[in-house]
Symmetry: C2
Subunit: 308 residues, 2 copies
Amino acid sequence: MTAGSLVVVGSVAFDTVEASGQKRDMLLGGSGSFFATAASYFAPTKLVAVVGEDFPQAHLDFFGSRGIDTSGIERRAGKTFHWSGRYSSDLTSRTTLDTQLNVFADFKPVLPEAWRGAELLFLGNIHPTLQLDVLEQVKKPLLVAMDTMNFWISGELAALKRVLERIDLLIINDEEARQLSGAHNLPQAARAIRAMGPKTIIVKRGDAGALLFHEGGVFAAPAYPLEAVIDPTGAGDSFAGGFIGYLAKARDFSPFSIRRGMYYGSVMASFCVEDFSLDRMRALTEAQIEDRYRAFRDLTHFEEIRIA
Amino acid sequence: MTAGSLVVVGSVAFDTVEASGQKRDMLLGGSGSFFATAASYFAPTKLVAVVGEDFPQAHLDFFGSRGIDTSGIERRAGKTFHWSGRYSSDLTSRTTLDTQLNVFADFKPVLPEAWRGAELLFLGNIHPTLQLDVLEQVKKPLLVAMDTMNFWISGELAALKRVLERIDLLIINDEEARQLSGAHNLPQAARAIRAMGPKTIIVKRGDAGALLFHEGGVFAAPAYPLEAVIDPTGAGDSFAGGFIGYLAKARDFSPFSIRRGMYYGSVMASFCVEDFSLDRMRALTEAQIEDRYRAFRDLTHFEEIRIA
């Protein structure tokens, strides 16, 4: 089986994070970094992003060590996107302290010619108009998935709806789903959003896990109740990376494959939060990933008959 | 297989509920009513409670029609406990408008002599001192489970701890678990509470489902994402009733039986919220219960191999 070619467009950033009693500065962050690193454990991943002159080669070398193709990362004059935030002591909420878009403000993603035949495309959380630009650069993708956020839902709804019409799968959190649909009830919200275009909706609910709404009905993937959460930054992007990475590996978008992918997404998110930045995901083994997958499966397993 | 004898002590009340655009008055409510009705689908249930002179015989007849033994319901001079509350439009929060304890204020639960050999005992959410009184009236129960609430945790902690030392299983919601343990993280909270006595802790999380912490590790039961929630009153008690009722039916307290019981608890809670009071649970068929059990199982099912 050859894994489907996977292209992701997203941010690569520096993060300054205050969490779990520590302040850590100039961490490797950004939605594209977390997504690509999580996905890289399943399928070769190509990352489209922009960085400034200050971005260390060591980070690009790390991406390379994970088999991530960085030839779509443009280096521009100026500084790299820098986000700073502080988490509450229970890690359930965060405050953005500063956002310096820097070179990201003028990001015009351009796919290398050789990447335009990508089979799977993930449109990370960037301006909907840029998402649409990227989508038009890819010839005949088998699966297009995307993320978005409250900022675009409230400020760029018309552009966002034009993207939604053309994608297969939306990954969104519960509050965003409510905001986008106008419905508080999540099954109702998902139905309204499915009518906007994407046939598959995944609603992330933080430590309550994720819900899937698609042609196969509804599916619930729990979050693992972890004792040692250090830094939640990037958990959603790592979920998306593990999930879409698994689909790329399987080249199977059937309901059962999508469900299994959600578990791999949850696995990668659970690793992500165990350390700052993407440090916990730097050097995982296949055995570690499979062990945690089994732990997740056992979490919801309740028949005596074990299934392989 | 003979079901284990199950005794529950709890409240039987009138509820006035504002929810889903309706105001409904003098509904049959109370933790004991919801618990016993849900449990009655699995095992013969004996209810210890108190009602006033105003309590209609029709409600007692309904309990009787469900096979619930009402000979432990004392009728006293005065009025029946009456709770009034209003839900927010999204049904995620509620405000208590009025609480008239009436005859419940002087409730001194006394078990009929013939019930003192009960195998399973559920101590509903009443004053911990009364829970202890009831516990001492039962000779050698196989399983003692209980519920409690923030009011007793903050006001009667010493008495509550004396009960906790003597029970097997605590059913509690997430905020109560945090309050009782002082830990925000739920696995940490559960470990702290297990050290207080009960070896099995179930943490209810509303529409995020329930977590089980016990010797078998951790288990997550999802809540079914329902579109048509009408009135959440009694959902937690119905969960407990379906759960403990299943254990009474199975007479098996192994980890897998407990997990399966949590699914039956979730099934009964999902029926409960589909109508006011316990109206949706008045006349369910075994087929309806089994259909929904399968729907719950499918909600977390993600392997191709189907298990019977």
